[in-house]
């Protein structure tokens, strides 16, 4: 790019990209804070998303809860249907409506 000069905005953007790609790789962002015991590493995590916040979590959690239960996708956070709580959804057909009937399980 020594002998060429960008004259409009699009060319400027291209130039920026080319220069960035030719340079050393950019440093990855500092790792987010992971609360103790938090299953951040799944995408998204249980308590926090991959950026350490909540913006990437399922909203509301009740929408996705029974998927976690039947597939034991969050085995340390949600009771699994396979072993610990086969009847967990018995009192509650749709978690978004009946979430007040969901039990806390102590395995």
């Amino acid at each position: 790019m020594k002998h060429l000069r960008s004259v409009n905005r699009k060319a400027q953007r291209i130039e920026n990209d080319v220069v960035a790609l030719q340079g050393p790789p950019q440093q990855p962002a500092a790792a987010p804070h992971i609360p103790l015991g938090c299953s951040l590493v799944f995408s998204p995590g249980w308590e926090a998303d991959r950026n350490g916040g909540t913006a990437g979590l399922c909203q509301p959690v009740e929408r996705d809860l029974f998927d976690c239960h039947t597939g034991c996708f969050w085995p340390a956070q949600v009771p699994d249907q396979l072993n610990h709580a086969p009847d967990w959804t018995a009192k509650c057909a749709a978690a978004q409506k009946d979430w007040r009937k969901i039990d806390l399980v102590f395995p």
Binding site: V41, E47, T54, E62, A76, P79, A85, K101, F106
Partner: protein, 571 residues
């Protein structure tokens, strides 16, 4: 007859052909040296109740070792969780008294040495800390995808046992294969940085050699501790010192009396909250496992409402017991407690105003035990630059003095002495507050209150002086302890039009965050629950008009729908 002959011949031919097809009996494979060594490392189970209860499933060998059980060591909590799983998933039936005996036997015979249990103390003390397992990246990644690393480092197992533990996880939670145990993506083709061939083992296979080595069943620490282990002799008077974020310091005394068994104790504790002068009395009982692991429960008042679980560690000399007393649906509220055995000497526990501004005079309370009756001001020593002007009053547990801090006193911590007994760095002399910091820097709370309990988060602001180099955030910065500040919540902008601040909850004047209720909120976009992340901001206005600010990140998140917990270890 003819028919009989045909049938007989047919049967004979069939039997012969079946015999010819049957594989030859297997020669028993000779175990290798390593396998022999592993087998020999198993710990015999002398307790008949344990053998009787567990042997329907766990095979007993000629040396009284039970399959699986004899090749594992862990904390009382680790054993309790296993016993609970045997009951809930494997059909074990136990009376509470039997469960207690089995738990105690396993924790004592297949327990951890103090050096092994200490690094994992945060797990049983239920501390919300940032823990980094530096020893092996693969192990950290594989295990913390679902649970705390504390569960792992409080285990000691043989190689086969680690393999079977992973197999157990894969059996009970089949998806863990995809989530953690097996490698995803295309195989590596590039050699490693040192030129070694590409390592395409699954993460679980990489982890087993590390765990077998780093968290081995047979260790010098356990050999030494188990040879010397005994029920501790704790009966007597103990000085009590505690600190709770948001409440400050507590000082008092605990009486420990013998309980029903030699490793069980009854306690009576009376302590004063220094900031308010409130006196709290608690009665409790405790079991000491493996000679040093205190697991207790104490209650205050007649109703027994204010119950605290106690998890502490006894030092080798049996002179100090320290740990955490906690409560809360997520064990989030707790006091850091240290008990020191009271002998004939005085003990200085601490003072009410630990930070002393240079060029000022004030009255200070010194809390302790066994202060002599004929105390004089000359016997009280605050170190250079701080002179004791007058002894205001003195009892064996509390001395009030007037001190004057010289204008040119060197800033830094001071040991406090009363009649020859010293409290290291009990006070600190400073000239000004340079900055404040919010603790914890990353907090977490969980919505609740309707169906699930709330998890609270207590914040506190700690004042700092820049120290002798006058530069912030250097090693010589001096902590001046907690200060009263004004608290507020600010938005942590993570998305466009972020509205978390409005919904997550409230922060009181004392820095205690109370999350909002659980469940979908119809007022929020997408009926989202009341979670979100925000800044918690502390503001301190100094006498000279200068304003100091500090902030911390707060994650307000989903409840836990399943709670792995073992409160039974204290009962």
């Amino acid at each position: 007859m003819k028919l009989f002959t045909i049938v007989a011949i047919s049967i004979a031919v069939l039997v012969q052909s079946l015999a010819a097809q049957a594989p030859p009996p297997k020669e028993p494979k000779e175990p290798t040296e390593k396998e022999k060594e592993e087998l020999d490392s198993g710990i015999p189970i002398a307790n008949e109740l344990v053998r009787k209860t567990c042997s329907p499933c766990h095979k007993v060998d000629d040396k009284l070792r039970l399959s699986r059980i004899s090749w594992r060591r862990t904390t009382p909590e680790g054993w309790e969780q296993t016993i609970k799983r045997m009951i809930s998933l494997d059909g074990l039936k136990l009376e509470p008294a039997e469960a207690r005996e089995i738990l105690k036997y396993l924790s004592n015979t297949l327990g951890l040495a103090p050096e092994e249990a200490r690094p994992a103390a945060f797990e049983v003390e239920k501390r919300m800390i940032d823990y980094k397992y530096a020893a092996n990246k693969d192990a950290e990644e594989v295990c913390t995808k679902c649970h705390s690393m504390g569960r792992v480092i409080s285990q000691r197992r043989s190689k086969t046992e680690w393999e079977l533990l992973i197999a157990m996880h894969r059996g009970y939670y089949p998806l863990s294969d995809f989530q953690a145990f097996r490698r995803g993506g295309p195989p590596q083709t590039q050699p490693g940085p040192d030129g070694s061939p590409p390592d395409n083992r699954h993460p679980m296979d990489k982890v087993i050699p590390h765990l077998t080595d780093a968290l081995a069943l047979k260790t010098p620490e356990w050999s030494a501790w188990s040879a010397n282990m005994r029920a501790p002799k704790l009966a007597g008077q103990w000085a009590f010192a505690g600190y709770q974020a948001g409440k400050g310091y507590f000082y008092g005394a605990t009486t420990i009396k013998p309980g029903d068994k030699e490793d069980e104790f009854l306690t009576e504790t009376r302590y004063t909250r220094v900031k308010t002068g409130d006196v709290i009395e608690r009665k409790g009982k405790a079991i000491v496992y493996t000679g040093f692991q205190w697991r207790g429960r104490s209650e205050s008042g007649a109703s027994g409402k204010d119950s605290l679980r106690e998890v502490m560690f006894l030092d080798r000399g049996q002179r100090e017991i320290s740990g955490r007393w906690f409560t809360g649906a997520y064990d989030e509220t707790g006091i850091d407690v240290t008990l020191k055995r009271i002998g004939n000497d005085s003990i200085v526990l601490g003072i009410d105003h630990a930070s002393l501004p240079a060029g000022s005079a004030r009255e200070v309370q010194i809390h302790g035990v066994n202060f002599p009756a004929n105390l004089s001001a000359a016997a009280i020593d605050f170190g250079p630059g701080v002179s004791v002007k007058r002894l205001v009053s003195a009892t064996p547990a509390l001395v009030r003095v007037e001190v004057e801090i010289a204008k040119d006193a060197t800033i830094g911590p001071r040991d406090i002495g009363v009649a020859g007994a010293f409290r290291e760095a009990g006070a600190v002399v400073y000239d000004k507050i340079d900055e404040i910091k919010v603790r914890p820097q990353a907090g977490m709370a969980r919505v609740g209150g309707i169906n699930f309990p709330k998890e609270f988060q207590q914040f506190e602001a700690i004042a700092f002086n820049n120290g002798a180099d006058r530069k912030p955030d250097t090693k010589d910065d001096i902590s001046l302890g907690p200060v009263d500040v004004t608290w507020s919540i600010e938005e942590y902008t993570a998305t466009f039009d972020d509205d978390d601040k409005t919904y997550v909850g409230t922060l009181d004047d004392n820095g205690l965050f109370t999350p909002n209720v659980d469940g979908p909120n119809p007022k929020r976009k997408n009926r989202a629950d009341n979670y979100g992340d925000v800044w918690v901001v502390a503001t301190l206005k100094l006498p000279d008009g200068k304003v100091l600010r500090a902030r911390a990140h707060l994650l307000v998140t989903v409840p836990l729908y399943m709670k792995f917990d073992q409160p039974e270890v204290a009962q």
